[in-house]
Symmetry: C2
Subunit: 203 residues, 2 copies
C-alpha cells in the first residue's frame, strides 16, 4: 500500500510549504491545487469555480409546500457540489493508489482513512500567521492588520465548516491527527527536515 | 536561560517514558515524582497525601449564615491546597533556574511560561492506552476492560479539571502546546529519538 501523508492546516501556518518540503525530502508526489485542476478538466468547469464550490459546503434545500403536496426545490448547487465532491474523492483514491504522496487539505485525512495515512495538522498563533501572510502573499499587502486578521479567521471558519460537513468530525481536533505542529517556533524548513526523518522510520 | 521541556499527557499515552527518554538523549535533568517528594520534604506531609491534594482541585467554600451575620467556613483543605500549590510553583521555578530539564505534568507548561518552555502534549486512542496500561502496570492487571477504560477516563477528567482550575486554560488544547504527538502509531522510543533531534536544533 502507498504511504500517504495528509496535511490539514490553519490558514497562514505554512501547511503548503511543509507539504512541499516533506514531499521533496521523501521523494513523494505532492498534491494540492493539482487536484482542483484535475477536477476542472474532468468536469469542464473552470478551476476558479471548482475551487469556490469546494471551499463552501452546499446550502441545504428545504421542502416547500406547493398547493396540497410537498415537494423539494431541486437545488442545482447541491447537485453540482455532490458531483464535484465525488470527482474529488475518486481522484484522491486514484492518487493514493498510484504512488507515495503528500496531500494538502481536501479532507484527505478522512477521505483516505482506509489507506491509514499519516495525518499532520499545522497551526500557529495569530501573530505568526499574519506575519507569514505578509511575507508570502502580495494579495495581503493592502490589508490592514484588522482586515488580515478577519480574513484569516474567515478562511479557517470555512475550512472548519467544510471539513465538519464532509467528515462529521471536528476540524483541527488533535484526536484526528497523528502529529500536530505549532509552526510559530521554528522555520518550516527545519520542521520539515525533522518530520521527514521521523517519517522515514514510519511503517 | 535554561531550556525547559514540559510534557502534558493523557493517561496511558506514554508521556513519562517520552520525558525520561528525551532527558536521556538530550542530557537534561528529568522531574516528575521528584517534585512531589520535594514538596513532601518541605511541608513535612506524606508524599501520598501531597499527591492526593495535587491531583484534585480544592472544594470551594461557600459563605454560611450564622445568626444575623455572614461568615465563611474556613476551608482548611483550600488553605492546604494553596500552600502545597505555592510550594510546587516555587520548586518548579528553582528547577527551571538550575539547569536544562524535562518536567512531566504539574501544569509546568503554564506555570513556567515566562521561561518559554517547549511544550509537548502526548495522546493516543483508548485502545492503545489500555494496551499500554496492561503492559506497564501491575495495578491494572486485575481490572476488566470496562473498569480500565473508566479508570483512564477518570484520571484524565481529574487532570483536565485540575489544569483548568490552575491555569484557566483548556487541558490538551493544541493551541497551548508546540507539538502534540499521537503515540499510537510508533514506539515511544522511536518518537523520543526524533523529537530529541528536533529539539537539539531548537533555540
Amino acid at each position: 500500500m502507498s504511504r500517504i501523508i495528509t496535511i490539514g492546516r490553519e490558514f497562514g501556518s505554512g501547511g503548503r510549504e511543509l507539504g512541499r518540503r516533506l514531499a521533496e525530502e521523501l521523494g513523494y508526489a505532492y498534491y494540492d491545487q493539482e487536484i482542483v485542476t484535475e477536477i476542472a478538466q474532468r468536469t469542464a468547469l473552470s478551476e476558479a469555480y471548482v475551487r469556490q464550490i469546494l471551499e463552501h459546503k452546499p446550502v441545504t434545500a428545504f421542502p416547500i409546500r406547493i398547493g396540497r403536496t410537498f415537494t423539494t426545490v431541486v437545488n442545482s448547487q447541491q447537485e453540482q457540489w455532490n458531483d464535484i465532491f465525488k470527482q474529488q474523492y475518486q481522484i484522491l483514491r486514484e492518487l493514493a493508489d498510484t504512488a507515495d504522496c503528500v496531500i494538502v487539505g481536501r479532507c484527505a485525512d478522512w477521505m483516505l482513512r482506509a489507506y491509514q495515512p499519516f495525518r499532520i495538522f499545522v497551526y500557529a498563533d495569530m501573530e505568526h500567521r499574519m506575519q507569514r501572510c505578509r511575507q508570502k502573499g502580495a494579495e495581503h499587502e493592502a490589508m490592514t492588520d484588522k482586515e488580515l486578521r478577519q480574513h484569516i479567521q474567515e478562511v479557517d471558519k470555512h475550512r472548519a465548516s467544510y471539513y465538519g460537513y464532509c467528515t462529521d468530525q471536528k476540524w483541527g481536533d488533535k484526536a484526528n491527527y497523528d502529529l500536530c505542529i505549532n509552526t510559530g517556533l521554528e522555520s518550516v524548513k527545519e520542521i520539515a527536515h525533522h518530520v521527514a526523518q521521523y517519517l522515514k522510520a514510519w511503517r
